[in-house]
């Protein structure tokens, strides 16, 4: 079956612009995660959605970052007023139910470059 998909695969933007990154999880997966992968920081957790519960936003680095998940499926990560330090690969993952034993399946990522 289809895996996790993300778009765009690459995004180049100018400092101060807003960007939207999209994630399509595996069909039927109720849990969705966003992580960020950057040099020197490794893989950082950003935000977690599970079903209709309030999202866990504890990993968002600033209030310029927000995310939503519509209809329990597609998710959009929005970064407002981008800064150069936002340059990274943004990875989305999904799993069946959000339990700590579940296997997360990752998308190919969106490489964001802020000039």
């Amino acid at each position: 079956g289809a895996g996790v998909s993300q778009s765009p695969s690459n995004k180049v933007t100018e400092k101060g612009k807003d960007v939207e990154l999209r994630c399509d999880p595996i069909s039927g997966h109720t849990a969705l995660y966003w992580y960020r992968q950057s040099l020197g920081q490794g893989l950082e957790f950003l935000i977690y959605f599970q079903g209709n519960s309030a999202p866990d936003k504890s990993g968002l680095p600033s209030d310029r970052f927000s995310a939503e998940r519509t209809g329990g499926s597609v998710s959009t990560l929005t970064i407002q007023r981008t800064q150069q330090e936002d340059s990274a690969v943004y990875l989305c993952a999904s799993d069946e139910a959000g339990y700590s034993t579940d296997t997360q399946y990752f998308g190919p990522g969106t490489r964001l470059t802020v000039l």
């Binding site: 995660y33 866990d56 799993d95 959000g98 700590s100 998308g107 190919p108």
Partner: protein, 115 residues
């Protein structure tokens, strides 16, 4: 707090030789442990996980890992390395007893297998 350490940034091994990629963890209580692999410009691919039971876990592509509670380790191993195994490997832990499935990742180990 949960954390994972991968003490080696790089591991180099000749094709056909056994390989080991090291991982140690620190968690409160018993851990759930995962290994992922990342090929260039790709997302993370799941290799294997330890939840409970047999300490030796077998996974994809001939990889295995041994959970050692006394040494708080979960080293990834393969008896005979292939050039195609060259990639970035991540160890991760999730928190037992939590419904929050977020993963805590190590910083990654670059494996290079030369012909």
């Amino acid at each position: 707090a949960q954390s994972v350490a991968q003490p080696e940034d790089q591991v180099n091994v000749a094709e056909g030789n056994p390989l080991t990629v090291k991982c140690t963890y620190s968690v409160s209580g018993n851990p759930y442990l995962f290994w992922y692999v990342q090929y260039p410009n790709r997302g993370l691919q799941f290799l294997l996980k330890y939840i409970t039971g047999d300490n030796l876990v077998k996974g994809s592509y001939g990889f295995e890992a041994e959970f050692n509670k006394s040494q708080t380790s979960f080293h990834l191993k393969k008896p005979s390395a292939l050039v195609s195994d060259s990639a970035l490997y991540f160890c991760a832990v999730s928190r037992r007893g939590s419904t929050l499935g977020r993963l805590y990742f190590g910083r990654g180990t670059q494996l290079t297998v030369w012909p």
